[in-house]
């Protein structure tokens, strides 16, 4: 199966970048808080390597930005570009989820 990848690099719902943006949509967080939040809402455990690999990519693409802090635990916030990218990928996922739910008969009265 081929699928056009978005220029933001966001793909599946369990992609670390998507999970990080989803977590940051609720407000700025540092690495450990991000990992805990993602584990809570998605059941996905991101190790330090995977988490910081994704943070590096997201910062490079301007989707998140670091906040000034004196603490070693630097928090990150989602940028406007990141918000738009997340909205796009969430819309894409919702469309597919709606079609899947409809075809499975999980939405009464709806036809695909």
């Amino acid at each position: 199966m081929t699928r056009n990848r978005q220029p933001t690099g966001l793909r599946r719902s369990n992609d670390p970048p998507v999970l990080i943006l989803t977590s940051l949509a609720a407000g700025p967080k540092h690495g450990h808080a991000l990992a805990k939040d993602i584990e809570d809402f998605a059941g996905v455990t991101l190790g330090p390597g995977a988490l910081y690999g994704a943070i590096t990519r997201l910062e490079e693409r301007g989707l998140i930005a670091p906040l000034e802090t004196d603490d070693r635990r630097r928090p990150y916030r989602m940028t406007a570009t990141g918000s738009a990218a997340l909205a796009e990928v969430v819309d894409d996922m919702r469309r597919i989820a709606d079609i899947g739910a409809s075809r499975l008969g999980l939405i009464p009265g709806a036809l695909a």
Binding site: H30, G31, H32, E60, R72
Partner: protein, 321 residues
């Protein structure tokens, strides 16, 4: 520094210096928060090492799209150079194994194996010229780099390669002296029960390993140097084109060697064992199998390097850069 903090920093060594500078402190803090008082598990060590190496690959342009296209093309070309070094080792092994095939050829050799053998030789010559051309066109940039005070940046790598070469060449001189005390049959590995033959075999393998290490260190020095050269767009394009040609040559040579092995195994299997013509011989040869594996691995690496060049999006220009 606490033990846990020190372990977090210890795992950072897998990451490139630039990344450590930017994210090191917060990464180590995350490690401390994640681990608490527990030591890092093997899985955590492994995944951190892999992500660190991947980050190094991204920084050098070997994987991902974090660096500009021209740097991705350069990284792809340097991967082909590394593959070439491995291929030279495999090619030397093949040359030793097929010694005598090109001169006289075993009795009854099928034309297919002769054709495959000639193909390997011709393509090898072309590939050597391509690699030499790749080095030659980088010479002006290399001289500029030296004039600009670049020598201290590469001195350690060059000195290490020079020392390894000196040791390798000395070992080769000893090996040649030892070879003169043996008959031709003994040098070819026959009569291995004889102590002198056994010493020669050990010395031969040790010398080849030393020369392979020297080649590896020269390749490392070349890669370190090439990454620092200020190359024009035209030169990078030309290097990329030459790298793609060298990669194709490696694939061709690997295929031709496989054909040579198959056809020699079916027509003259005794040649593969170094046995007299017509003697019973198995087509299986461990050294040839290892050689083929190394050729294949080098070809795959070269293919990946060439694909990085092709996907970098640079165009092959011929005008001034």
């Amino acid at each position: 520094m606490s033990r846990r903090r020190s372990e977090g920093f210890g795992l950072l060594r897998w990451y490139p210096p630039g990344w450590r500078e930017r994210y090191g402190e917060e990464f180590a803090a995350l490690m401390e928060d994640t681990l608490g008082n527990r030591p890092p598990t093997r899985r955590l060590r492994l995944t951190t090492a892999l992500t660190g190496l991947r980050e190094r690959g991204r920084e050098t342009g070997v994987v991902g799209d974090s660096v500009p296209p021209v740097d991705r093309a350069r990284a792809g070309s340097l991967l082909v150079l590394c593959a070439w070094a491995a291929f030279v080792v495999a090619g030397s092994s093949f040359a030793k194994l097929s010694e005598g095939f090109g001169l006289a050829g075993p009795t009854g050799t099928a034309s297919v194996s002769s054709g495959a053998y000639r193909s390997v030789m011709v393509v090898a010559i072309v590939a050597c010229l391509v690699v030499a051309a790749g080095m030659a066109i980088a010479v002006p940039a290399f001289l500029r780099f030296l004039r600009g005070g670049g020598w201290p940046l590469i001195r350690r790598h060059v000195v290490r390669a020079l020392i390894a070469s000196g040791v390798g060449v000395s070992a080769l001189a000893v090996l040649v002296g030892l070879a003169h005390t043996l008959t031709s049959a003994q040098r070819d590995g026959q009569l291995v029960s004889h102590p002198a033959v056994w010493y020669y075999e050990v010395a031969f393998i040790a010398t080849m390993l030393l020369l392979a290490v020297a080649l590896l260190l020269w390749t490392a020095a070349a890669v370190v140097t090439a990454r620092r050269l200020d190359l024009t767009g035209t030169i990078v394009s030309a290097e990329a084109l030459l790298a793609a040609t060298a990669a194709a040559a490696m694939v061709l040579m690997t295929a031709a060697t496989a054909v040579w092995w198959g056809s020699t195994a079916s027509s003259t299997p005794w040649f593969l064992q170094g046995a007299p013509a017509g003697a019973a011989g198995s087509p299986l040869n461990i050294q040839l199998a290892a050689t083929m594996v190394l050729m294949l691995a080098a070809s795959i690496l070269a293919g990946y390097g060439a694909s990085r060049v092709a996907r970098s999006g640079i165009t092959f220009r011929t005008g001034p850069g």
